[in-house]
Amino acid sequence: MQSILFWSAVTLYALATVAWFAWAAFGRKWGAGAGTALLALGLLPHAGSLAMRWIEVGHGPYNTRYEVISADTFILVAVWLVASMVARGLRGLGVFVAPSAFLLMGWAVSTFELKREVPIIFKSWWLVMHIGFAKLFFASILLAACCAAAWLIKERKPSALASLPSREKLDLYAHQFMIVSFLFLGVMIAAGALWAHQSWGRYWGWDPIETSALVTWIVFGIVLHFRVLHRWSGRRMAWLTFVALGFAVVTIFVVAILVPTIHNSYMVGS
């Protein structure tokens, strides 16, 4: 049943990708509506598959690559849906969100069968905060990068992605998402520090992911200072947003996979 729900979600995300492609490439207006509906619909079986895994293994989606990536994807789609309800102009970002969700699910399924118990140090509410905000951080910086990508596309071809808002608005939304992701990353780091203190009596240990998260937070600070102090916007900020996304991806995925760290368990894939 869990597998059926997971594959239903993957199928709906794939169909949403096709619909959004029809909208972006061929100007089919139905594509945006259908793509949004399919992505929203996909959240239902996706939530079901996550809940079933949670019940089966007895812990939240924070151990093994499948659980983490699948939950990250769920949060990404959910955050985009909520954001597009608050600001209608963001709905067009579905053209980036749908293929991202489909590809991430493809990565997640590679370790679908792997199930692991969690260590006792995971018995903490700070862990829930730490991981919850890590997922929100990833979703919000990815959406900031989507806004930046849309800005660059519209700069090259102003008539492209017609139902997305103006470039000024996209620049503003990218800034907004980046501020929010800076906050979420800060909460993630602080909750992780509190968790570490609860378990080990120290709030900081210069673990590779801890350090990488701190460096990412500092880099976000630099990018935001370029905005505020130097009034940078437009193309330069779009590229800097991609740089920020790169740091986020390295922190969340690359370090956990390649470097020995106390965080290895959440991306374990074999």
Partner: protein, 403 residues
Amino acid sequence: MSRLVSLLRSPRLVLAVIAFLAVWTGVGAWAPWMQPEGPPPPPWAVAVGLAHPFTSWPFLVVVALLFASTLACTWGRRARTLAIRRGELPPSATRLPPRAADLRAFLASEGFRGEGEVLTRFGPALWGGWVLHVGLLVLIAAVLVQHALSDSGTFDLSEGERASLAAHGTVFGREKGPLAPDALPDLDVALVRFDPFRKQHGYSSDRLSELEVSGRGVAARTETIDRAAGIRAGDVEIFQAIPSGMALTLDVPGMGMRTVRLQPEGPRRAAAEVTSPSGEPMRLVVDSESDLGGPAGPGKLLVWMESRGTRRALMPGSPFPFGVGEARVLGMGRWGRFTYTRTPGLWGVFAGFAMILAGCTLLAFPAGVARLGRPGETAAAVVFTIRGGSALAAEWERAGPPA
């Protein structure tokens, strides 16, 4: 003085300081010699301070510079924010030219509220930057104070063993800041029960201890401790650490009961070097039928004493020569490792964190102040926004033709 403040507030210096910290932190944490069992640092790394990146002078100097720069940026910010709230907007504010459109209605649609000349949007959020910067100052100061006052150390206990942390030889691996007290915590601890493979529902098997703690100002009590959370006794917190192993309890003539903690020498062997009361070096060895660290238990155990090239099997209760007299093996159990910490000032670190996050939260709101144009001004309104000034101007441009 004002030149120094201007220098500290200059965007280039601010960005240079932050960029240095990002690069130094990244290099420092990722350098091969910083990894467990990594190579020794090369001479150039020692020369520039990267051998100990987070206590080296370049790092501490730049952190001090960050503190000074943040202080300079924060200084006067409160007055500037109050002035903005009154409608005294900086030159960088967006000027909306007159257009054939209802300006108040447009500003209202953009979230600006107010009756008079000055309208605000998410007014309290204008303080976001100030709160964030003050939080950063609090965090840096609190981390320095906390590090200066912190004190931590490690101790091992065998099942049934009681020890005083203040006694000589109990605590090892002590790390303390320059302002921390020299005296060890006045605390007695006893390991009542220790299970290295305790299964708790939903989690993999792990250590679980029952510790009795007592001391000056600390009423004697027994508490359960695992690796998820420590226990507090007065100003001391005690945490369960990972290392554990087999322990032998001996009855030594003239010394009473003594516990020997053995270190693993292989999956099925643990040993300890001891010195008999007469000064003779010996080795106590335990061989097991199954893995010593396996949750199923070690199975049948054999205890040996090695001395001067000979090996002798030890039986529980039977005497064996140990220095000038005879000792007996009373029993066998496990030992566990614990750490203690004293962290006065930690609340300041978390207060700094909380202020930074509160500032970030406020910054997430697109705060702004709009002042309607005054007689003689060419602009219909002057608008200061935390962000999105150009988007607002573009929206106004679409609101109607020039007036």
